[in-house]
């Protein structure tokens, strides 16, 4: 990911690198994207076809809490890997970033299990009812973002073996880390609004 963006070399007005500004502006755009998806979910919450699975019947709080914990820990690993590369410790960087990617992949495994469980066990697919439609779309797009993040992290891991990922290239890791933390924060919002509050309000199943 060396030169995913470019810079003609002279100093910038704000002193920040162009790429750092770009990722922040991009994340602003992503906020609106997930905001719209979550808004759709909330507008349709509790509406739909009688006799089809509802959130309270299918959502499994203990399992999803575990996967949420895994994803939050991956953010911690990400911080450690950035810390390692800023000190020029490529060896530790490789360990931590691989841990981050593995935890991200674990989260995806949980999601795959959850989706499969819903479909096989409860017969809930996106076509079943409004809950299925909005749930799979919202969490599915989040999962797609995690997938992109995992590919990005693995790419950085492999790139480090080319030997030109040094202390000066901390920014490349920093940008990937910003994206990774953002995806994490979005999950906290989704977990709260989609899983915790509805189940909490109703006193659980």
């Amino acid at each position: 990911m060396a030169n995913i963006t470019e810079n003609t070399g002279h100093e910038t007005t704000t002193g920040l690198d162009h790429r750092k500004l770009l990722i922040w502006a991009f994340l602003g755009s992503e906020c609106m994207f997930f905001g719209s998806l979550i808004a759709t979910y909330l507008v349709y919450y509790g509406q739909g076809t009688p006799g089809t699975p509802t959130p309270l019947q299918v959502l499994d709080i203990p399992t999803t809490s575990t996967s949420t914990f895994v994803l939050l820990m991956s953010s911690f690993m990400m911080v450690m890997s950035y810390n390692a590369i800023s000190k020029g410790n490529v060896k530790n960087f490789r360990i931590w970033i691989m841990c981050t990617a593995i935890l991200g992949a674990t989260f995806l495994g949980f999601q795959f299990y959850e989706f499969r469980e819903f479909a096989v066990h409860y017969g809930l697919t996106p076509r079943t009812n409004l809950f299925g439609t909005t749930f799979f779309t919202t969490t599915g797009f989040h999962g797609a973002h995690v997938t992109v993040g995992v590919i990005w992290l693995v790419s950085l891991f492999l790139y480090s073996y080319r030997g030109d990922l040094t202390k000066d290239h901390g920014l490349m890791v920093d940008i990937a880390a910003l994206y990774w933390h953002f995806v994490d924060v979005v999950w906290i919002v989704i977990f709260t609004l989609v899983y915790l509050i509805p189940v909490g309000v109703s006193g659980g199943t």
Partner: protein, 612 residues
């Protein structure tokens, strides 16, 4: 270099066809944006021409009702997404780096990517005409008319996929310009010394980056409904079809300001130049632009006054809509204040700018009429609305864009457009515009619904419809005169020199057309209108800043090298979009090509090594 970059040799040529295809120079990209989007503007005009021919007489049958529905839908979408927006982007590309004293945009290859996604996405969008039909639901595509039950065929899929692909281009370009404007200003150019066009580009880019994700979600939901049986807009599953209207207009109203704010920026550059006065009330005009952008998020439901959202929602949105007229009115007074007492030169760019103010006021006034919800209930879906949007979009945006083309053509090409043909084209367009669209106010007040295929003679709409159609011929003559002027002046136009208009901003301090690196020395800015003040103090020589521009002195300026990968990625993305319609293997292949493009791009150094 890694193996993948050696598959294709790095392009090195900066001339010829490949030089244009692989270029990452913002000026060439701007020119390509301009030429391609003006071509789409002509296609959109042709669609409008057919609509007006159909409506020229009662019970006419120039086209079939189905084709007519596709025509009015595609006319709107073409003009908005393939005409006005990319024409604005052409000015962003051409002018912004020059105005802020930069050598290029922040991400030149990302800029090329935006261009190629736009061109290929636009061709894909228009290809619906030859592949079984274009969208026919109106540009707003209200659910559930757009469901696979009521809109079978591929027409609406060209809508979701085409607009989705074009959205990627717009957001990428907007991100690029946000970073460029915030981070690449010449030393001394503080925010409040930036030219107003730069300010309006910044506000527009922020609107694009925040508004497009909303419609993207709407398009994804519609696409999933149509192709995979999801239930987002399926009333049988209990879905609320008004959700689509909210998603669409939450995007759709900021979009209106995305279309008009760049136009306001262009006019704000041109009026002081030809009035020989500094801009009247610079901070006020900047803050009212920001206020318009901000308030643009709070007025969307005024498109939905007749949906039945209830009196409270209607009252709130009526009030916010009236409020947004205030900063708009402030700008108009600023423009008039700028001209007041000035030494006005009626060159063609100035004529178009004054025409803009005149027509935009008419459109703005009918806009305020629509803000009153009970009154809007009478006007909704009549030709009165058609008159309003054409006064603000054609009289507003397009007149400002024409003004900008006449103003910056010399900078881009090095030659002047002919003033005499320019004036002819202005008057034909100005008169044609009013003859076409003013009668629509009468037709709308008389109850003629918009988007209707034909009408009966007994309604009494014959005369004004015929007048409107005659106006289109005048309008078309004006556009043809401009196209003629364009091609004639490219070859035979008077040589422009650096600063043909005695203008204020930095782009006029360098040669026309500018060298690849723009500024031999990065200028230092001490005030607003820095170049003008410099000229008045007599520091600038006859030809600009007086800095030496000898080619041989500037071999040490390293510019980024051309690249294939933006084009490869754009091809991959467009192929993936077609694949979603026709075959999933093609979609997978497109996604794979896009991935290859991303990796090759990432591994490719910004500047090709010297030993190439």
């Amino acid at each position: 270099m890694a193996s993948i970059s050696n598959v294709l040799r790095r392009p090195t040529s900066t001339t010829g066809v490949w030089g244009w295809i692989t270029t990452i120079d913002h000026k060439k990209i701007g020119i390509m944006y301009g030429v391609s989007s003006f071509t789409f503007f002509l296609i959109g005009g042709l669609e409008a021409f057919l609509i007006r021919l159909q409506l020229a007489r009662p019970e006419h049958a120039v086209v079939s009702p189905e084709i007519y529905s596709q025509l009015f839908t595609m006319h709107a979408l073409t003009m908005i997404f393939l005409g006005v927006m990319p024409l604005s982007a052409a000015f962003f590309n051409l002018v912004i780096p020059l105005m802020i004293g930069a050598r290029d945009v922040a991400f030149p290859r990302l800029n090329a990517l935006s261009l190629w996604i736009f061109i290929l996405g636009a061709l894909m969008f228009q290809s619906g005409w030859f592949l079984g039909g274009s969208p026919n639901s109106g540009w707003f595509a209200y659910a559930p008319l757009t469901s696979s039950t009521f809109s079978p065929g591929n027409g609406m899929d060209f809508y979701t996929l085409g607009l989705g692909v074009l959205g990627v281009s717009s957001v990428a370009a907007a991100l690029n310009f946000i970073v460029t404007i915030i981070n690449m200003r010449a030393p001394g150019m503080t925010l409040m010394r930036m030219p107003v066009f730069v300010w309006m580009t910044l506000v527009t880019s922020i609107l694009l980056v925040t508004a497009f994700p909303v419609i993207t979600v709407g398009l994804i939901e519609l696409f999933l409904d149509r192709r995979f049986g999801f239930n987002f807009f399926n009333p049988d599953a209990g879905a609320d079809v008004v959700l689509w209207q909210h998603l669409f207009w939450v995007f759709g109203h900021p979009e209106v300001y995305i279309l008009i704010l760049p136009a306001m920026g262009i006019v704000t550059e041109i009026l002081p130049t030809f009035s020989k006065k500094p801009l009247f009330g610079y901070p006020v005009i900047v803050f009212s632009g920001i206020a318009i952008g901000f308030m643009g998020w709070a007025v969307w439901s005024h498109h939905m006054f007749t949906v039945g959202l209830g009196p409270i929602a209607n009252s709130v949105f009526a009030l916010t809509t009236m409020t947004i007229a205030v900063p708009t009115g402030v700008k108009i007074f600023n423009w008039i204040g700028t001209m007041w007492g000035g030494n006005i030169e009626l060159k063609t760019p100035m004529l178009f700018s004054i025409g803009f103010i005149f027509l935009f006021i008419i459109g703005g006034l009918s806009g305020v009429m629509h803000s009153i919800a009970p009154s809007d209930a009478q006007q909704q879906d009549t030709y009165f609305i058609v008159a309003h949007i054409h006064y603000v979009l054609f009289g507003g945006s397009i007149f400002a864009i024409m003004s900008g083309i006449y103003y910056w053509f010399p900078k881009a090409s090095g030659r002047m457009l002919s003033e005499s043909i320019g004036k002819v084209s202005f008057w034909l367009m100005f008169i044609g515009m009013n003859v076409t669209f003013f009668p629509m106010h009468f037709l709308g007040m008389d109850g003629m619904p918009r988007r209707q295929y034909t009408y009966d003679s007994s309604y009494g709409w014959d005369f004004w419809n015929l007048v409107a159609t005659i106006g289109v011929f005048l309008l078309a003559a004006g556009v043809i005169a401009f196209v003629h002027n364009f091609f004639r002046s490219l070859r035979k136009g008077e040589i422009a020199g650096n600063d043909p208009w005695d203008a204020r901003t930095l782009e006029w301090s360098i040669p026309s057309p500018p060298p690849e690196y723009n500024f031999a020395e990065i200028p230092i800015v001490n005030s607003r209108d820095a170049f003008w003040e410099q000229k008045q103090r007599g520091e600038a020589g006859e030809q600009g800043t007086g800095a030496g521009y000898g080619e041989e002195e500037h071999h040490d300026i390293h510019m980024p090298s051309p690249s294939y990968w933006p084009l490869v990625m754009a091809i991959g993305l467009t192929a993936a979009a077609y694949g979603m319609l026709y075959s999933y293997p093609l979609a997978a292949l497109g996604a794979f090509v896009t991935m290859v493009g991303i990796y090759a791009w990432s591994m490719e150094p910004v500047t090709a090594s010297e030993d190439h």
